[in-house]
Symmetry: C2
Subunit: 149 residues, 2 copies
């Protein structure tokens, strides 16, 4: 059936971040939808941010467009332009290679829920606020000088 049974899809808070950068995403619980749904053209994640959780470390991708559709609750979108509230029904787009690091932070007292769409792409990801970088082909984050954590 096309309608996804979200409750039946495993939820995880796994992260590839090293411990010193992982704390902010411990309350980020996500479900990978595309493999379950049989989608190949793009990826999609159903994400619940518990109070205090961030969607990621602030970042931008060299080669991956991203789109976020807010479903419930509130988050603060932090990027180079400042802070923008995001509420149910709001949509934000993050074009690849725009150099505008972005993150959603749940500063409220209730969970916030969104769906994030992207495309699986092996390209670099930049983290302006921390000494971390995802090199294309590396598969996981390293220090900006290329050394492992």
């Amino acid at each position: 059936m096309p309608k996804l049974d979200l409750d039946a899809i495993p939820q995880t808070n796994a992260t590839g971040y090293p411990p010193q950068y992982a704390e902010v995403v411990q309350g980020r619980w996500y479900r990978r939808l595309a493999p379950v749904a049989g989608l190949e053209d793009f990826g999609a994640s159903h994400v619940v941010l518990q109070p205090g959780a961030w969607s990621a470390q602030r970042h931008w991708h060299e080669g991956e467009d991203e789109l976020v559709v807010m479903i419930a609750g509130e988050a603060v979108l932090v990027d180079e332009t400042g802070e923008t509230p995001m509420r149910a029904g709001d949509v934000a787009a993050f074009p690849k290679n725009d150099g505008n690091g972005h993150v959603l932070q749940n500063r409220s007292g209730a969970p916030c829920i969104f769906v994030a769409i992207g495309r699986m792409a092996d390209t670099a990801c930049h983290y302006p606020d921390i000494d971390m970088h995802l090199f294309a082909g590396a598969g996981r984050q390293k220090r900006k000088d290329g050394s492992d954590f």
Copy 2:
């Protein structure tokens, strides 16, 4: 700014359907988000279905995955398996070439709103309930025998 100013994006109810099949989508008002947002990897439309409106004629694509994220209101998802209610927060996926014609119908008395994601792809689209077909490369709908309307 990554958050899209939806009110500033032009809304249209334009359709390429011939008149005999267009009535059900007259109350389908959509905004194409990807060109405005600078996204290239996939397409996205913000859609408002007024009461009585359908998202499309029931259809399935040979080569385009689709995902729908419900934001507000109610719709009935009609496909080969029957009828399924869709409400805010629900997500439905339509893998390419699955042969399962689908449509969202707003049978409620209030608008329903969703975001639909797909990939621009020049592949055939099948309409099981009507004598219409989109042939790859044709650019617009024809009768199933290939003749123009």
